[in-house]
């Protein structure tokens, strides 16, 4: 839920941060990989904030650094605009963090039914072509990507 709140904030921000709510609502296979990657960033940003342990006052978001870790480029104007909106979110987390939860057992996630494991039986996904069609560049059977040698 927190993430969704964040998403709604960010999706109102400038065009270049293409965040969609598709991850939560859409099962459409036509969405591109790229889109997905952007939407995943929302989680990370949320994490960056929620991991801040100062209970009452949260640090203002370092938008430039967040943009760097998300591998997106923002103009100074965009940084400023984003910063204001993100600040609203962190303030909200600040309120949440003021709640005294000392007597509450930590829960990572809502209760989910156990035993929902999958059997190890292979199944070929039929519509692979539409996945492949969304890949921008091929070199024969391989995906073609810019030359990379170093991680991080």
């Amino acid at each position: 839920m927190a993430t969704r709140a964040l998403l709604s904030v960010i999706s109102a921000s400038p065009r270049r941060i293409k965040i969609e709510t598709s991850i939560f609502s859409s099962s459409s296979l036509s969405s591109s990989l790229q889109l997905q990657r952007y939407s995943r960033k929302a989680h990370r940003i949320a994490r960056s904030f929620s991991s801040d342990t100062n209970p009452s006052v949260l640090q203002p978001p370092d938008v430039a650094r967040l943009a760097e870790t998300a591998r997106i480029s923002l103009t100074p104007a965009e940084i400023e605009e984003c910063g204001t909106k993100l600040r609203q979110v962190t303030d909200w987390f600040g309120q949440l963090q003021q709640v005294d939860v000392n007597s509450v057992e930590p829960a990572i996630r809502a209760e989910m039914e156990g035993g929902n494991l999958r059997e190890d039986a292979p199944e070929t996904f039929e519509n692979r072509e539409s996945i492949r069609a969304s890949i921008p560049s091929f070199d024969e059977a391989y995906l073609k990507v810019p030359k990379v040698l170093n991680k991080e």
Binding site: L35, R40, H43, E123, A141, Y142, K147
Partner: protein, 552 residues
């Protein structure tokens, strides 16, 4: 004899590589590479070449370096990634097949498409528990998955599903036997943790062109990562640790453990410190180690590199970095320098529930664990076998099972070990077969050993029919009968043949009687030939000597 044979068919890489580093001026050893499955076999063999031991590097021109090395202690930790031999990927039902057409084993889940949700493969949990138990770990009855974020073209989702703060297993250990020529002894290395995670895709870097190629068939394939305690002190110890991991995952059937295919990948962390210093030095990570021998050499290379820097007062040049081992050049090169810890921004994976294990489930898996390599080694040792035999037999589960079956049929332990290690091992090597492919059943090998022992057939005949039995099967008794191979133990019959041979070789007889007694071997050979190898050798020799020395 068997030692000699073994050395021919399965050269001991470590013996060679142990010296390779200390004698880098003479490059003759360096071309030796072990390849994958053979590597395990070879790592454990003892070859009786104590002069090549790492700890006896005297008189070969690198004394100065040895002196420097004596002042430092290396600290080595290993991260081992084991690719699981499941039918499907970790979180989707895509087939997990090595060698499929690139980018065919993909679906919305492993491609990270919107709305797709991961569902954990039950086999991954089972294998995690199996390996955790085999490594003497404590299990987390409740563990969870986390997201590890990084951007790289082999990672479609932009994060890897892994386990961060609560791994499925932790706090274990593994026992290994160091081969005698490297000092021998029994060592225990700590296992910090075992956790479940998914693999990334495979990146291929073309030499030409300014792009890389990606195959996403591997993206989402299940892995178990085993993190060791920094307990290893030399390349040999590290390689033995890794070889034991390979044995264990193969015994357990959780992975094929094949290093060439990347099913078993080891990254090592090496630091050195002056002896007596408590805190660790700066650690350097080495990657691209695709054979145990490479691992051992790369570590020893790194230890030397760091010791020299220390010795020259340049220890500030030992920096936290990742180095790539170049097998061709026998050296490592810096791949990237790390500035502080990489920020992976872990957080709990919201799309997957916690992994809950019941005690009953754990117990049921414990009940299906096979006898592990260490237990086998101790059992074979207790039978009175030497360490060389023990290491050979326990190296592969199939060989150990075969051996157990042979002695289960009543064969003498040492004789059974000898047959397996010499002639049968040579045959398997030549024919590129595994013990499971041979037609000779354990029962018939026991029968063959018994037939030689009770004198029904000679050892020489035994060897001859062994190869036929290996290739075509059949029974020892049937073959002895069909080929009329029963050993001749009738003294009168042997005496007849001896007299005939002596009569046919008057010249040699004269030489013998004039003092050239070496010729006894010639006569024995002739008699044996006449008997088609069936004459009982002690009886033959006894009668032959009598007749040769008889005055007529």
């Amino acid at each position: 004899m068997s030692t000699a044979l073994l050395r021919t068919i399965q050269p001991n890489h470590f013996t060679l590589l142990g010296t390779a580093l200390l004698r880098r001026t003479s490059r003759s050893n360096i071309s030796v590479r072990c390849s994958g499955s053979q590597a395990t076999t070879t790592t454990t063999h003892e070859a009786k070449q104590p002069s090549q031991s790492r700890v006896a590097p005297k008189n070969h021109g690198s004394n100065k370096l040895d002196e420097i090395l004596r002042d430092y202690e290396a600290v080595i930790g290993i991260e081992t990634h084991v690719q699981l031999s499941t039918f499907t990927k970790a979180f989707c039902s895509c087939p997990n097949n090595y060698g499929s057409e690139p980018n065919t084993s993909i679906c919305p889940v492993c491609m990270g498409l919107p709305g797709a949700l991961p569902v954990l493969n039950s086999k991954v949990v089972e294998f995690g528990v199996r390996l955790g138990l085999a490594l003497n770990c404590g299990l987390s009855l409740s563990s969870k998955f986390d997201r590890k974020q990084y951007f790289y073209p082999d990672l479609p989702k932009g994060y890897q599903i892994s386990q961060f703060d609560i791994p499925i297993a932790s706090g274990g250990y593994v026992d290994v036997d160091i081969p005698l020529e490297f000092g021998g002894g029994h060592k225990r290395f700590g296992v910090t943790r075992v956790h479940m995670e998914e693999d990334a895709g495979k990146l291929l870097h073309s030499d030409t062109g300014d792009y890389s190629q990606v195959d996403l068939n591997r993206a989402g394939v299940p892995l178990l990562e085993i993190v060791s305690e920094p307990d290893m002190r030399s390349g040999i110890e590290a390689a033995e640790y890794a070889a034991e991991m390979q044995r264990i995952v193969r015994y357990l059937g959780v992975s094929n453990g094949n290093m060439q295919e990347g099913s078993l990948r080891c990254d090592v962390n090496v630091s050195i410190r002056p002896i007596g210093q408590a805190e660790f030095g700066t650690k350097v990570e080495i990657k691209n180690l695709n054979a145990f021998s490479a691992m051992s050499r790369a570590i020893d290379f790194e230890i030397k590199r760091q010791a020299l820097l220390y010795n020259q007062g340049q220890e500030d040049q030992i920096v936290t970095e990742t180095r790539l081992w170049e097998e061709g050049a026998q050296k490592s090169v810096s791949m990237r320098k790390k500035e502080g810890l990489a920020d992976y921004r872990y957080f709990p994976e919201p799309d997957l529930p916690e992994v809950i294990l019941t005690q009953d489930y754990v117990d049921s898996i414990r009940a299906t664990l096979p006898e592990l390599p260490e237990a086998k080694r101790r059992r074979y040792e207790a039978m009175g076998l030497g360490m060389q035999d023990v290491l050979f037999l326990a190296n592969e589960a199939s060989v150990a099972d075969y051996f157990d079956a042979v002695i289960g049929e009543g064969a003498e332990v040492k004789l059974a070990a000898n047959w397996l290690m010499s002639d049968i091992a040579a045959y398997l090597k030549n024919e590129e077969l595994s013990i499971n492919d041979v037609k000779l059943t354990p029962k018939e090998l026991a029968a063959l050993i018994a037939a030689i022992k009770d004198g029904t057939i000679s050892g020489k005949i035994g060897k001859q029919i062994l190869f036929e039995l290996l290739a075509k099967g059949g029974t020892v008794q049937g073959m002895i009968k069909a080929k009329n191979l029963v050993q001749i133990t009738d003294p009168a019959e042997i005496e007849k043949m001896v007299l005939k041979v002596i009569a046919e070789n008057p010249k040699q007889l004269e030489q013998y009687r004039n003092g050239k007694t070496k010729l006894q071997g010639y006569f024995a050979g002739e008699v044996m030939k006449m008997s088609k190898g069936k004459a009982n050798p002690p009886l033959l020799n006894k009668i032959l000597v009598e007749k040769l020395n008889a005055k007529d």
